[in-house]
Symmetry: C2
Amino acid sequence: MTNWTKIDQTVKRWIQEAGTNIRASFTSSLTIQAKSNPNDLVTNVDQETERFFIENIRSEFPEHRILGEEGQGDRVQSLDGVIWIIDPIDGTMNFVHQQRNFAVSIGIYENGIGQLGYIYDIVHDELYHARKGHGAWMNDTPLPKLEKAPVETAILGISATWLINNRHFNQEKLVQLAKDVRGTRSYGSAALELAYVASGRLDGYITMRNAPWDFAGGKMIVEEAGGIVSTIDGGEIDMLSVNPVFAAAPGLHQDILKKYLT
Amino acid sequence: MTNWTKIDQTVKRWIQEAGTNIRASFTSSLTIQAKSNPNDLVTNVDQETERFFIENIRSEFPEHRILGEEGQGDRVQSLDGVIWIIDPIDGTMNFVHQQRNFAVSIGIYENGIGQLGYIYDIVHDELYHARKGHGAWMNDTPLPKLEKAPVETAILGISATWLINNRHFNQEKLVQLAKDVRGTRSYGSAALELAYVASGRLDGYITMRNAPWDFAGGKMIVEEAGGIVSTIDGGEIDMLSVNPVFAAAPGLHQDILKKYLT
């Protein structure tokens, strides 16, 4: 049987260590390579951080598989067994331009079921974490269960992209939603925006294209805080593919789905 | 002659004191009153902080006038003499929902000319400040002079509102700009977004409706960092009215004006 307590303690230690290294990199100059898309910057720190996790996981838990953004993990084509889904730095553009608004994201799934989730906002030293059935936490503070929020007072995380250039979904419906909520925000890090939903800083978050490493940690944490995470039309998220992701407080999730998304 | 060094030292002391009080309020429960518009929340902390500054200014600099968001200052109808333009908490909705992404903003103008500017990001303990002719600073670190940035690699601060529901300006032009830049962000605090332009975390910021207390501090700081602040069509900002505000790095400001805004 998988010893989740041991894994949880081990991940937390590794995350703190990765955070220390990433913080130290702020003073050294970064080597930035443009990936195929200039929106998708990658730094040496990204790759080193992923390698750090992969080497540790392979040594400590050799039977587990790893799906990582930087592509140094395994070719994962089924959800069997224990899978670590890792984004070493979610929000790389922010990391490079701002030295804030980025996070380490890790989700650990067993046979497709989320067991552990972590989002570490390094600059704020805020570790959001969750364990299946044990609730969600920010550092040592349990996150209160999310409460029903009406659309008119909601603050919604959504990138302007999906309101002006959306080839994946009915743009008009999203625009109407953005007009009806109290305010929108956009931080440029899916992991952080999911952590903000879990902690009530945002009431909801919508994105059209998220990869598993963007949402694997956050999905666990939002769900354990009492929120709901689905595809844009309320379907189940596929943990091995790019998905549209819609996370929100309960009640609000249902209202938005019914009035705007279906 | 006005002793700007003395004023500068005094403001910095007051801002630190206000920051300490605001931080302390996080643990006490907030009394929130809805203003006429539910987007415009106001808390007792806002009003107390404004009162704190007003009482201090009146006692220390009785000949100066005060223009403040919470309306406890003077009726200022000309720019003659020394005027303090104060937003005790810019980003009140963030303050209430997030306990971050808000700032104290102060600009001090003499006969319409900016002399001192302050934006204090309390949670990060980052005081952005500038004095005319002396450059811009973040705490004790001088901000490097902003460099020319091309549109394609720029990160632009802009609220989704101006891209989907803009009655003040040609929406199509702004949408094209938002499509052409590398990314957009929206934080919900004009003061912070201007501080981010000054420090290079954003390359530009556009808003259609800003009151003097939203931009008085930030305009000074961006300009002293080498950036340009104008109305949306490149005109001069009126320090006594609501303005559309466009702040950007040099070069980028000119390019965006020419290609998208005029």
